[in-house]
């Protein structure tokens, strides 16, 4: 219980620090919203009046206090460019980005865990060598290139799936929505699997060399039985610790890949907002992504305590 409270406290402090960093860094960037939306050839008076309207003429600490005060009350502010509430803008994009990154994450786990275990058990066999080689390649190749390749094969050549875009009706047409997300999901999942396979493989290799597996074998368990009974849970401890980071990777991967597939999700929103110096949208999105990563890491810590009783006996976090 003490551990959980400690964790929650650390999470809150991290969030506050993250909000300061996000806010300050964005204001250190050159260019401002007023300049970006009015374009070249505007008078200083016009700029000044728009800045005062947006509140960007205030000192940075005042702007920060204003933003955090609104955040705490649940008000994310309005977009500088479209003047719509940020909350509405973000909410409209969630049905694309959230399913995309969650499905990619789950698919990546489903691909990488079995492959990593097999690659470790058959480390000198042909399967192990091929899995390792392919995952090396996967790590080296950028995620958008995988996307382009998949589009080339499955959309342009075979014509099985759309090359990009999202149905206007959204999830009201579930079949079309799933079809348009299929290639992006596979793209992100493949890129993530390449990394995760290596984690799973090395964690399993570690476990395979452990004395307790030898003990299990000496008691009559087969190699696989011993691995299932004692190995997987032990190997899960280090693998779980990277799951939080990997979920963040899947979100970031989604942000990048939405642009390749012309999906109107959070990634596209983030890019257009950055270009337009739409600070309320950018800082909300970045802070939300940070919060998700921090929250995942906290959950992962707790999950590890469930798996490994040794972590429970001390008050410190893993």
């Amino acid at each position: 219980m003490k551990g959980v409270l400690f964790r929650v406290g650390a999470l809150l402090i991290s969030l506050v620090l993250a909000s300061v960093v996000v806010f300050v860094v964005l204001r250190l960037l050159p260019g401002d919203a007023a300049g970006a939306s009015l374009g070249v050839g505007t008078t200083t008076d016009q700029l000044e009046s728009l800045r005062s309207e947006l509140g960007t003429d205030q000192p940075v600490p005042v702007q920060y206090a204003q933003w955090v005060g609104d955040l705490v009350r649940g008000d994310l502010g309005d977009s500088f460019t479209s003047r719509q509430p940020v909350a509405d803008l973000v909410a409209a994009k969630l049905p694309i980005t959230v399913p995309l990154s969650l499905a990619a994450f789950v698919l990546a786990v489903l691909i990488s865990v079995p492959l990593g275990v097999i690659a470790a058990v058959q480390r000198r066999g042909p399967v192990g060598v091929v899995v390792s080689a392919v995952s090396q390649l996967g790590v080296a190749v950028p995620v958008f290139w995988v996307g382009v390749l998949l589009v080339l094969v499955f959309a342009l050549t075979l014509g099985w799936l759309p090359s990009g875009g999202f149905p206007r009706q959204g999830w009201d047409d579930p079949a079309a929505a799933i079809r348009s997300l299929a290639l992006p999901v596979v793209t992100v999942a493949v890129a993530m699997s390449a990394v995760m396979v290596r984690y799973v493989r090395s964690a399993t290799l570690d476990v395979l060399d452990q004395d307790y597996l030898r003990t299990a074998r000496s008691l009559g368990y087969s190699r696989w039985q011993a691995l299932r009974r004692h190995g997987l849970r032990n190997a899960a401890v280090p693998v779980v610790s990277i799951l939080g980071i990997e979920l963040a990777t899947s979100l970031l991967g989604a942000v990048v890949i939405e642009n390749v597939f012309a999906l109107p999700g959070l990634g596209t929103l983030l890019l257009t907002s950055v270009t337009g110096r739409d600070l309320p949208v950018v800082q909300t999105l970045v802070l939300a992504l940070t919060a998700v990563v921090l929250l995942m890491n906290a959950l992962v810590d707790m999950l590890q305590r469930v798996i490994d009783p040794r972590l429970r006996r001390t008050g410190v976090t893993a």
């Binding site: 000198r124 452990q210 004395d211 307790y212 030898r214 003990t215 299990a216 074998r217 000496s218 008691l219 009559g220 368990y221 087969s222 039985q225 009974r229 004692h230 849970r233 032990n234 401890v237 798996i307 490994d308 009783p309 040794r310």
Partner: protein
């Protein structure tokens, strides 16, 4: 000779052709007590691994390992699995790493009971408790619910013994089972082992670099050096002055309180 376990010219070679065990031969009678002594790297542990068919990848064993006349080296893996734990069980040097850190010791002891004897539920619990008492684990309930790292070294080695004896094997191979323990705990575990062999009638192969330790539990002695058995004798005769110069060297070193080239500590 018609021993329970007989090794005839057991030879182990690596894939590169290096000979690690060279025509090792010895025999263990039912209920017998054989000590295998030798310095680190002499092939003691490799012999044990070869008997159980658990050699590391890339090593091959030739010769014969006869259990009741059946050659274990020719048995298919499936039948070997019923021999391991069921007929021949093993206890290792370091009980902390030999046990799974994430599983309570009660469940670990119950594992082989289910695997070989099909016991589960209350029957498995009762049998686990009986085994815990057999290896003199007091405070049974607490210990069975504990994880290995919550126990002392002596308690852990008793747990390992209980696991090994769970399926009433006919042969127990103990590979340096007391080396990792404190001297006082070492004496307790040796007493226990001595007593268990008497009570259960299990044949004991006790592997150690430590001749005085072997002398406490073993009757016969195989002296190994560089992958070969250099002398087969009785422990008492060896202590009285063995035939082979290396045996005499071991005995005089033991008397002086140390062993030659004690590199495996």
């Amino acid at each position: 000779m018609t021993g329970l376990l007989e090794l005839h010219d057991l030879t182990v070679t690596t894939s590169t052709g290096r000979t690690l065990l060279d025509r090792v031969s010895w025999s263990l009678d039912a209920g017998g007590r054989l000590g295998v002594v030798g310095e680190s790297g002499s092939g003691k542990s490799l012999t044990a691994a070869a008997v159980l068919g658990l050699l590391p990848d890339g090593m091959t064993a030739t010769g014969r390992v006869l259990l009741d006349g059946t050659d274990l080296l020719t048995l298919p893996e499936r039948r070997m699995r019923s021999i391991r734990g069921g007929q021949i069980a093993m206890v290792f040097q370091e009980p902390l790493t030999a046990l799974d850190p994430l599983m309570t010791v009660g469940r670990q002891i119950a594992g082989p009971l289910r695997l070989h004897r099909g016991l589960r539920g209350p029957a498995a619990v009762a049998e686990t408790e009986r085994l815990a008492r057999l290896v003199r684990l007091d405070d049974t309930e607490r210990i069975l619910g504990s994880y290995p790292w919550q126990l002392s070294g002596g308690q852990r080695q008793r747990v390992a013994l209980a696991m090994a004896l769970a399926c009433e094997p006919r042969i127990l191979i103990a590979d340096e089972p007391t080396t990792a323990l404190d001297v006082t705990v070492q004496a307790e575990v040796l007493d226990l082992l001595d007593d268990l062999v008497d009570r259960t009638g299990v044949g004991l192969v006790f592997v150690s670099h430590d001749l005085p330790v072997i002398a406490r539990v073993a009757r016969d002695l195989a002296v190994m050096r560089d992958g070969r058995v250099v002398e087969l004798t009785a422990v008492a005769e060896a202590l009285a002055g063995g035939q082979h110069p290396y045996t005499r060297e071991l005995v005089s070193a033991a008397r002086a309180g140390q062993l030659p080239r004690q590199e495996d500590r």
